[in-house]
Every structure is written in structure tokens, then in C-alpha cells.
């Protein structure tokens, strides 16, 4: 079994669910950068799903893993069908075979019943009081990473300088114990290489002072990265000082390092079309099921800070969340990747 060696510092992400527009730019940026080789067709280290929803892999929240009272909980290995996607299409048949209208573009590989974003924009509730929001997810680079501990080959470790959970692919034997142990189900299997793979936090970029692709590409200005102990950084301020950014499913016990600013929503409508001022469109109980009891406080803080701005008063929280300059998202990892000569041996 692998052992967790704690790192000196910890990198963390924050996503503002009020600003995420579900555009998938982060997931496509990640996919294009890291998962284009054979064997990675079905992989999406970064995913954005509509909540409430079954997510990816399908119903991952019911699959177990993580820790209860410090003891590892058994977890399920998601099947390829549950991950879904991995689609390829009959482009040749449609465009070049001369069959005309008798052949339309169809999936010829991958899951028939699910995809990484299958239930997009479905959500819950009843019209007109329906609701949904987007939840970007990647490996949480946990402080107590169940995956690291579960690996029989010691292939996983936390980087001592930044806490990213890394995989030595030369050592990994594809045992997939990590994938069972991870409660977030963010580890994929590469059948071509016979190993597991997951988000490495764009480690080679971090080494060069460049923010991960998901953060740097986000057009919604909804994502931040930074060291959790950097008191002046946006991440630390949102997580530690203002406590408006919370981890997903903290009860799973892995101390995740991706944090979320919970979504607010307009009040619901009464049957006569008037505003139900005291009502909740997104039930607080649902938010608590994702972000824990503290979410109520976070929502209250957000509302109070928004009110301050409406009254023309200053608000540090709102200034951070607005993100006047996009470089503020990068936590100091603001080097332009275009100016770096990248090579496969890592020299910059």
C-alpha cells in the first residue's frame, strides 16, 4: 500500500458556480492538451456537469471510496459504460461512401447510454421553478488522497512542493485500486498502455510558472488557482478568510483541494406568477448534500456582500469574485505558455 507524504505547500482550485456558464472550455482545453492519444478516447480529466444530475461516471456519488472516520471505505470501480462517451463516428460512411441520405452520422464506438455530459441542462424542479447549475470537476489533489494509499505499487505520490497528486506511469501496473478508492471517480483506465491515468494539475506547466489549462482558458472568469497558504491570494481569501468557497463532499474524508462558491438563484414564483420572496429555488438541503452544513453560512456571506455593493460600499469578496483582471485567477502562475519552448524532457 502506498503511503501519503505530506507536501510543504498545497495548490488549490476555486470555481465560482455563479459564474460558470458550462461552456466546457476548461474540459476541452484539458482534453486537447492531455488526452488525445490512443487509449484516452473516453477520458475527460476535467468535466463539467449539470447539477442536480447523475454526473460522470454515472451516479458516481453512490460508488463509495474515500474514508469514514479515518478508515478507508470500499469503493466501486466504474465500468466503461458508466463513464460513457468515448464516441467515434462513421464520418467515412457518411461523407465518402456515396450512400447519400441513407447513412447519417452515428456513433460507432463508445457507450450507447451515457456520456461525460449526458444530462446537461436537465436539472430538477418543476417549471417555472426548475433549477440547475454547472459543476466543473477535476482530481481534487486531496490532502488525504485515498488513491495514493490504495496503490499496491506505490505509483502515486503527492509532490512535496505543491501537493499535486502525481502518478509514476512507469511504476503503475494498472491495478486500478486507486480508481476504486477515489470517491470522486476521477481516475481513468488506459487500455492501450495498461495503466490508470488522472489529472496531474498540469504539473509541467506549474513547474514553468504557467497556470493549468482549465484555469487559464476559462472565459467565464470562474476559476482560480493558488497556494492555500498564500494569505494575499484569491484562493486563500475565498477559502480561509471569507469561507465562501467550500469543498465538494467533504464527508468523503479525503480533504479535497478544489473548492466551490455555491450557486445562488432567483426566488421561485408563486402559482399566480408573483415572487415567492421567502422561498428557495435551489433547496438549501440540496446544496448541503454537496457542500456540507457550512454552505448556509457561505450563501449568507455572499448575499450580504452583494448587498454591500448594491449600497455602493466596498466588498473584498465581490472584488475577488468579479475578477477585474484575468491574471488574478492565476495565483502567480502567470507566465505566458507561448513564450516557453516546450520539450518532452521537461526543459523549459
Amino acid at each position: 500500500m502506498g503511503t501519503i507524504t505530506q507536501s510543504k505547500r498545497q495548490l488549490a482550485w476555486v470555481f465560482d458556480l455563479n459564474k460558470c456558464i458550462g461552456c466546457q472550455t476548461c474540459s476541452v482545453a484539458c482534453k486537447v492538451l492531455w488526452q488525445q492519444d490512443k487509449g484516452t478516447e473516453h477520458m475527460w480529466w476535467m468535466t463539467v456537469n449539470t447539477q442536480p444530475g447523475r454526473g460522470t461516471p454515472r451516479d458516481y456519488e453512490t460508488m463509495g471510496g474515500g474514508y469514514k472516520d479515518g478508515v478507508a471505505t470500499p469503493g466501486k470501480l466504474p465500468s466503461p459504460e458508466e463513464f460513457g462517451g468515448g464516441w467515434d463516428y462513421n464520418y467515412d460512411e457518411v461523407l465518402r461512401s456515396g450512400k447519400g441520405r441513407t447513412a447519417h452520422l452515428e456513433k460507432i464506438a463508445g457507450s450507447k447510454t451515457w456520456g461525460p455530459n449526458w444530462d446537461e441542462d436537465e436539472g430538477a424542479g418543476e417549471f417555472p421553478n426548475s433549477y440547475f447549475f454547472y459543476l466543473p470537476r477535476l482530481c481534487n489533489h486531496c490532502t488525504v488522497p485515498g488513491c495514493v494509499e490504495a496503490c499496491p505499487n506505490n505509483a502515486l505520490s503527492k509532490d512535496p512542493e505543491n501537493g499535486l497528486v502525481l502518478r509514476n506511469e512507469d511504476v503503475c501496473q494498472g491495478a486500478q485500486m486507486c480508481a476504486q478508492a477515489c470517491p470522486y471517480k476521477k481516475i481513468y483506465f488506459n487500455p492501450s498502455l495498461g495503466i490508470s491515468q488522472h489529472c496531474i494539475g498540469c504539473f509541467p506547466r506549474i513547474e514553468q510558472g504557467v497556470a493549468p489549462a482549465c484555469v487559464r482558458q476559462c472565459p467565464g472568469r470562474a476559476a482560480w488557482i493558488g497556494f492555500l497558504d498564500d494569505d494575499r491570494g484569491a484562493v486563500s481569501k475565498l477559502v480561509n478568510k471569507w469561507k465562501v468557497a467550500l469543498p465538494l463532499h467533504a464527508e468523503w474524508g479525503t480533504k479535497p483541494n478544489v473548492f466551490y462558491v455555491p450557486p445562488l438563484a432567483p426566488v421561485p414564483l408563486n402559482p399566480d406568477g408573483t415572487f415567492n420572496e421567502g422561498g428557495e429555488r435551489i433547496p438549501l438541503s440540496y446544496l448541503k448534500s454537496l457542500f456540507g452544513e457550512q454552505v448556509g453560512g457561505a450563501v449568507d456571506t455572499l448575499k450580504a456582500e452583494m448587498d454591500k455593493r448594491r449600497r455602493g460600499e466596498a466588498s473584498e469578496v465581490m472584488d475577488i469574485l468579479v475578477m477585474y483582471k484575468w491574471e488574478e485567477a492565476l495565483g502567480g502562475f502567470d507566465r505566458d505558455p507561448a513564450e516557453i519552448v516546450w520539450s518532452t524532457n521537461g526543459a523549459g
Partner: protein, 521 residues
């Protein structure tokens, strides 16, 4: 909406937020041909002459504002063929594609349409409202060549591909599709000229008044195999025309407007003696001209654009699209349109020279639309049908670009889908993800159902852009839409309601089309 904003004083001032979108012009590109020779002196001479010409337009009415003169100039340019004689396509559809019957069907129209569509159309032409739009042309001229660049008519044509394939295609001698996508129209073309996509060539993003920036898109990778920059495709064709014309000793060509074109030396004429053939030089010249026209700061160039990525505009230039914003761009302020009118009290370019909502045109009076009013959607599609189909842009690709790209398909259902309310789906026994048939009076398509309580009961939503060949049978949303033109769109000759290319003209309004949804057995 505009009325509400007007009545509540919510336009033409900072902080009011809502405003209309318009694409502006980057005159450097638009006027490249007109200025005649390389260099910014030529650009400045052209703009001085244009300004003089526009002043002449005010001779009969010195009270005309810059905006009004610009619109008048655009209209005259249309009349004189300065804009290549664009024809509002509604007339082509009416005379040649078989829309006449649909537009005359009273079931498809608002009950306040008192006469037949034919009568309105003929009257609008007889009264000369569309003279500059050459409305009558398509009565006589039968199109022989279809040359489209990025158009994909067989997907986009509201009213459906069937009309085009049955009525237009048999007349065509040659169909050419220039595109970076392998699209449905390409599948029905004689020639496909593959064009470079973004990042495979140099370009700039849409000059939108929302961001007020010139945004350079530099070439990142070479285009694959035999793919060319669209400019090079155009020049290649011009070269060939020049060569063939010389071989056939056909030195001149008279177009349908009776204008003669000299076919000798056209490659040089169109490329400023080769100056514009080089992509970098062409872009640099465009940017420098934009600066000469006052749209970008004086020191702008390709180098500067490369360094900064984006250069903020400093002015609107000469074309009406930008000037219609009627506000001065200030360096450190957000932009709100109409401040010339609200703050500087400059008259609006309307009939009354005020913010005008009352249109006392006889047709508007007859229809009870002299003021903006709410009317129920007309019965187009079939008034008794259960659902109303609306559309919108999808999220995952920009318009229809990359619609069939494998990676993007993997970010959603990976096949064309239609949103339907959960209760409606339940009542019809439709499962999430199941293929269904959507039917209107003009056609039907097959598509998968996506069930969401966020859809209003009775509504179905289909994002536009799915390629017909992604659907079973190759029929898509546009094949269910009737492509209806509202008769009031034929009004002209009234103050600000005058034909100007790309602006006021009859256009289809396929909103809330009546459809039925059935399970595919």
C-alpha cells in the same frame, strides 16, 4: 423591450446595461479596394473624398446629421451598385423557390394581414420601395451558378432544403462550396474548395461592439494538405478567369446590371499589383488603414496587434454599422450606444428625428402595429399543432462551427437533440434520449428528445446548427420551419424604413413554429 427601455430612460447612459448588438465595420478591410493603392496616404485621400461626397449629400438638407448622411450614402451606394448589387433574398425565394404559396396561406399569417401576400408584395414593388434592391430581377433571371463561401444553404435555409433541391438545384449548372467544414451543402456540390479554418490562417475576430476590440487571430498551424486560405482561393479563381478570358479573347464581361468589367489584368487590379497577395502584408495594411480611418490608435500595426493580442477601438470609422452606435468611444469607459442622442441631443435618424415608436405607415395602421403590440404567434407550421418550436445558439460550438467535431460531440449528447418539458414527455410516453419525429405542415425531421423541467410546457427547443446529415433522413430544424416572411417587412419609402443592404428588408421570422412531436415507431 426597446419601448420599455425607452420609456424608463434606460438607454443612452452609463450603467444601464441592456443594449442591442451590432457588428461594426473595420473599414480597413472594407475599403481596401476603393482606396486604390498601398499606403495610408491613399486611405486618407479616400476618406477625405468620401467625406466630401457625403457633404454633397447634405446640400438639400444641411440639418442632416452624420448618422443620417451615412445611411443615405449606404442607400445610394446600393442604388448605384457600389455594394455589388445585393438583392434581398426574399424576392428570390418568392419568385423562384416556391415560397409564394406558403406566404399567401392565411393560416400561416397573422389575422391582421388583410390582403394576400401577393398584393402587398406587388404594391411594394410598384411603389418603388425596393427599386434599389432589384426586387424584380429574379422574376426574369434564373440562377445558373451557386457559389457559396461558408454558407451551407441546405442547413440554413428556413423553409427547408426540399424547396431548394426541388426548385433551384435542377436549374443550376455549377455548385461550388468554399468551406472549412464538410457540410451538407458540400455533399450536394460539384466542387468543394477546402478553406483554412481559424488558426490555420491569419484573421481577426468579429468586430463586435460588445468588446470594442480589434482581436488578432494569428496563424498557429499550417492548413492540412490542399487546404488554402480563402483569400488565396479567391485569387486563384481570379487568376484562372483572367487566363481563360485571355485564351478565349473575351476581354470584357457585361454583368446583369449592364455594367462592363474588363477581364484583363484583374489579378493585379484586385491585389494592388500583387501587394496584397502576402498574408502578413495584407493584415498589416488593413490594421494601418483602420488606424488611418480613426478606428484604431495611430501607431497600430500587425506588430502591435501581435504584441497585445487585442487593440481597443478609438472610433467607428465610416460605415453605418458602427456609427449607428451613436456614442463616442472613450478610453476608460464602458460603451453605451445612443449617448449622442441622449447627452448631446443630436436628432435620431428616424422620420421624426426622435426616438420613434409610432409608425403611421398605412400598412402598420391597418395591421394595428403602429405601436409595438403583443400578438400571439401566427399559425405558421399548422395552427392546430400542439407545440411551439423555438431555437437558439448552442453552447459548445460557435454557431455551426465544429458541429461535427468529435471532441465537441463528446461534450454533449453527441447527436442532435431537442429539449422537451418533463410533463409533456411523460404524457407522450417519450423517454429521455429517444428518437422522435417533429412535424409541421411543411416537413418533418427526426431528432432525439432531451427532457428538462426548465423547458416551458408546450415548447420545444432545438439549438440551431446541427448538420442535416447528423439527423436520420438528413432533415433538420430548418426543414420544419416554414420560412415565413412578415408582410410588414416589405414596407419601404417611409422615413427610417428604407431598404439598405444588410439592414431593413423582408426576412423570415421563424419563431414559435407550430409543430407536433411523435414517437418514432
Amino acid at each position: 423591450m426597446a419601448l420599455l427601455l425607452g420609456l424608463t430612460g434606460n438607454w443612452g447612459k452609463q450603467g444601464t446595461g441592456t443594449r442591442s448588438w451590432a457588428i461594426s465595420g473595420l473599414d480597413g478591410g472594407s475599403f481596401m479596394r476603393q482606396k486604390g493603392r498601398p499606403g495610408q496616404d491613399a486611405a486618407r485621400e479616400w476618406v477625405t473624398n468620401l467625406a466630401k461626397a457625403r457633404r454633397m449629400l447634405t446640400a438639400d438638407d444641411p440639418t442632416l446629421t452624420l448618422e443620417m448622411v451615412t445611411y443615405r450614402a449606404a442607400q445610394m451606394a446600393a442604388e448605384l451598385g457600389g455594394l455589388g448589387r445585393m438583392i434581398p433574398p426574399a424576392f428570390l425565394w418568392y419568385y423562384q423557390y416556391g415560397y409564394k404559396e406558403r406566404w399567401n396561406n392565411p393560416d400561416n399569417n397573422d389575422p391582421s394581414m388583410k390582403r394576400t401576400f401577393d398584393e402587398y408584395l406587388n404594391e411594394s414593388i410598384d411603389r418603388g420601395w425596393w427599386d434599389s434592391g432589384l426586387a424584380k430581377t429574379y422574376r426574369e433571371v434564373v440562377p445558373r451558378v451557386l457559389f457559396e463561401a461558408g454558407g451551407n444553404m441546405l442547413r440554413r435555409q428556413r423553409g427547408g432544403q426540399r424547396l431548394l433541391l426541388d426548385k433551384l438545384w435542377p436549374d443550376l449548372k455549377m455548385i461550388v462550396s468554399v468551406d472549412f467544414r464538410m457540410n451538407t451543402t458540400g455533399m450536394y456540390s460539384d466542387y468543394i474548395l477546402p478553406a483554412a479554418q481559424h488558426y490555420e490562417k491569419m484573421g481577426n475576430s468579429m468586430p463586435s461592439v460588445h468588446h470594442l476590440n480589434f482581436v488578432l487571430i494569428d496563424q498557429a498551424v499550417d492548413p492540412p494538405e490542399d487546404v488554402l486560405n480563402d483569400y488565396d482561393i479567391g485569387i486563384g479563381l481570379v487568376r484562372k478567369i483572367e487566363e481563360r478570358a485571355a485564351a478565349r479573347e473575351m476581354l470584357q464581361f457585361t454583368d446583369r446590371n449592364g455594367v462592363q468589367h474588363d477581364l484583363r489584368d484583374i489579378t493585379n487590379k484586385l491585389s494592388m499589383d500583387g501587394f496584397l497577395l502576402d498574408e502578413e502584408r495584407r493584415m498589416d495594411e488593413t490594421i494601418k488603414d483602420d488606424a488611418a480611418y480613426g478606428i484604431l490608435p495611430p501607431d497600430s500595426s500587425l506588430d502591435v496587434a501581435r504584441q497585445k493580442g487585442a487593440i481597443r477601438w478609438t472610433g467607428w470609422g465610416l460605415v453605418g454599422h458602427g456609427l449607428g452606435q451613436a456614442s463616442t468611444i472613450k478610453p476608460d469607459e464602458t460603451h453605451n450606444p445612443f449617448r449622442w442622442h441622449t447627452e448631446d441631443k443630436m436628432p435620431y435618424p428616424t422620420l421624426t428625428r426622435r426616438a420613434q415608436f409610432y409608425i403611421d405607415h398605412e400598412w402598420f395602421l391597418e395591421a394595428g402595429e403602429e405601436f409595438p403590440v403583443h400578438k400571439e404567434p401566427p399559425g405558421h407550421g399548422g395552427p392546430a399543432r400542439q407545440f411551439k418550436m423555438t431555437s437558439g445558439h448552442n453552447r459548445w460550438s460557435i454557431h455551426s462551427m465544429n458541429m461535427t467535431n468529435n471532441i465537441l460531440l463528446n461534450t454533449h449528447r453527441g447527436e442532435p437533440f431537442m429539449f422537451i418539458n418533463n410533463r409533456d414527455a411523460e404524457a407522450k410516453g417519450i423517454e429521455n434520449g429517444e428518437w422522435v419525429r417533429v412535424i409541421s405542415d411543411v416537413g418533418s425531421m427526426q431528432i432525439t428528445a432531451k427532457i428538462s423541467p426548465s423547458v416551458r410546457p408546450g415548447q420545444v427547443i432545438v439549438y440551431n446548427g446541427f448538420e442535416p446529415y447528423m439527423h436520420r433522413e438528413w432533415y433538420s430544424q430548418a426543414d420544419v420551419e416554414p420560412g415565413h416572411v412578415k408582410w410588414l417587412g416589405l414596407v419601404g419609402g417611409y422615413g427610417h424604413l428604407q431598404y439598405r443592404p444588410l439592414q431593413w428588408q423582408p426576412v423570415p421570422a421563424d419563431r414559435a413554429v407550430h409543430v407536433d412531436v411523435e414517437k418514432v415507431s
